[in-house]
Amino acid sequence: MEGAWEIAFVLFQVWLSIVVGLIVLPAMFGVSLGFTDIYIKVLVKTLEWATLRIQRGQKEQPTLPSQSANGIIEKDDGSMEEEIGELRRSHPKNLAGGDFTMCDAFYFCKKGIENIVEDQVTQRFTSEELASWNLLTRTNNNFRYISVRLTIIWGLGVFIRYCILLPLRITLAVIGLSWLVIGTTLVGLLPSSNAKNWLSDLVHITCYRICARGLSATIRYHNKENRPKKGGICVANHTSPIDIVILANDGCYAMVGQVHGGLMGVIQRSMVRSCPHVWFERSEMKDRHAVAKRLKDHIADKTKLPILIFPEGTCINNTSVMMFKKGSFEIGGTIYPVAIKYDPQFGDAFWNSAKNNMVSYLLRMMTSWAIVCNMWYLPPMTRQDGEDAVQFANRVKSAIAHQGGLVDLSWDGGLKREKVKESFKEEQQKMYSSMIVVNMNESLN
């Protein structure tokens, strides 16, 4: 019995030294041994093969076409005026005044039914549907049994992901996070100096690099010359908590967020020891002026790291960018926009907080194939004269959406949980009223 324990212990030591030697140490120095690249190449080939097989199988049995990027129903893009105008054209014109016709209701009716079948907003809060299956059960919406070979590959995939990759990734995550806590606490003991800042940056970056390896993350950075500088604000579209790991792999940022309890709280407290982050108590968050003041003070100090903010305020499924909250755009300072686009073929990075809590989300991440994403640094932007915070926010949002190939929506991400404001309905009513009353006045003159 003891012999078995000794053997297990030795194996564990060997395992740990392999992991540290081949993965952790190179990660800390930003060196890649090429394992991940080979893995991704093999994966791409396998998935292409699987796609061909599925397509061949689909030709034999008629099956469902998947949702294209354009949606499932045709939609008229006309404005309310154009559409109702068309409706009224066939109706005999009335001379007594007023321009209401009963067929006006058709416009609202059709729009309503279209939105019941497919709308622009609710689809952003669930994972994106894939064009072709990537051999993960969780994305299997409409794909059925095709062939024995495919099932075997899928089974092999399950084994690899759960029995080989998962333990490896968990080990790396544990190592990474412990290193973060221990390292930042140690650095925190030093007196303030340039050396301390340099060490703090080193600890942060190495920890995030280890965590990135822990997700088999392949990140392609574009336009590194636009990287955020100190005293600036970095804004990005938000898909999941992993965005932080992705961003922090290539630079050091001051994080902004709520104070949490538990493990998160421990990490937050130790991070703050080595360099200033901005953590808010829950009560402080409600006071917008206090929040704005703290952020302003932070960016005014040019020695502090750039702040990282996700203005959407919630996780969106990486097919679109939703309304940016204007708070971060009122503070002043230079905005450094960043666009992040994940490749859904290798793993779905979106955190659906209604369906998964943090732990099950991380498990899903660690049992995906990999996280592959592109990150674009956009040129810095500042508020122009005559532009208010909302317009500025929309301008930044459009730039990010355009770069990342995402749909630019002005709907609020908060609609995930809250009801839409009445004022939008009132806007619609006002628009319609102007189509009746204007003509009425014209005919009375």
Binding site: L64, P65, A105, C109, G112, I116
Partner: protein, 203 residues
């Protein structure tokens, strides 16, 4: 949705041959296999309570529908008299009114009465948007209420009243100061109902 209903849906999802007769018996609404499955997927995602039926709140959760001035009337069309839950069959039946009319050429086998998406039935759907108490005529009051929904607070009572009066005057042929369904059809006879009250699937 009862057990038979679930069996039907399961049969849809796993049927290897496109057995149209079988699922047409289940859903007396001629939509294609892929269209029905798409709609079932949508129904399921709207059904937050996961109890196989939609409530009015489930519909209100669609932001673009919630801001539609006639949103409440449209949602009401999915709920038969006095009921608060819309099952999948009812959901499909209501949506079937909006199938394009040309689809009927492909489905000549389904001749049990007039198809739900005929011009007349589309007009009936619109008529019922106005007919609040379902008594088969639109009274001045009902017209005023619906007008008020569409314009909000932007038009005065008097202006709205005169619009309603004029509309009824135009349409009413038998002098009862209400608009019956046949009068409704007559007024809108030149409108391209087939085009304006149809939803086209991309596949």
């Amino acid at each position: 949705m009862g057990l038979q209903g679930w069996r039907n849906v399961l049969a849809l999802k796993t049927s290897k041959n496109n057995n149209r007769a079988a699922w047409q018996r289940a859903f007396p609404v001629p939509l294609s296999h892929s269209q029905i499955t798409r709609l079932y997927s949508r129904f399921h995602s709207l059904d937050k309570g996961e109890n196989g039926a939609l409530s009015r709140e489930d519909f209100q959760r669609i932001p673009e529908l919630a801001i539609n001035p006639l949103g409440d009337r449209i949602i009401n069309a999915f709920f038969p008299e006095g009921e608060d839950q819309a099952n999948f069959r009812g959901f499909m039946r209501t949506l079937a009114h909006f199938r394009p009319v040309e689809d009927n050429e492909k489905n000549k086998d389904l001749t049990s009465g007039e198809p739900l998406n005929s011009r007349t039935n589309k007009l009936l759907f619109a008529f019922r948007l106005y007919d609040l108490d379902r008594d088969d005529k639109i009274s001045r009051d009902e017209l005023l209420q619906v007008l008020r929904m569409m314009v909000g607070v932007n038009i005065s009572d008097e202006q709205l009243g005169s619009i309603a009066d004029r509309t009824i005057q135009e349409a009413d042929t038998n002098g009862d100061m209400c608009i019956s369904f046949s009068e409704f059809i007559k007024v809108l006879e030149k409108v391209d109902v087939e085009q304006k009250m149809s939803i086209r699937f991309l596949h």
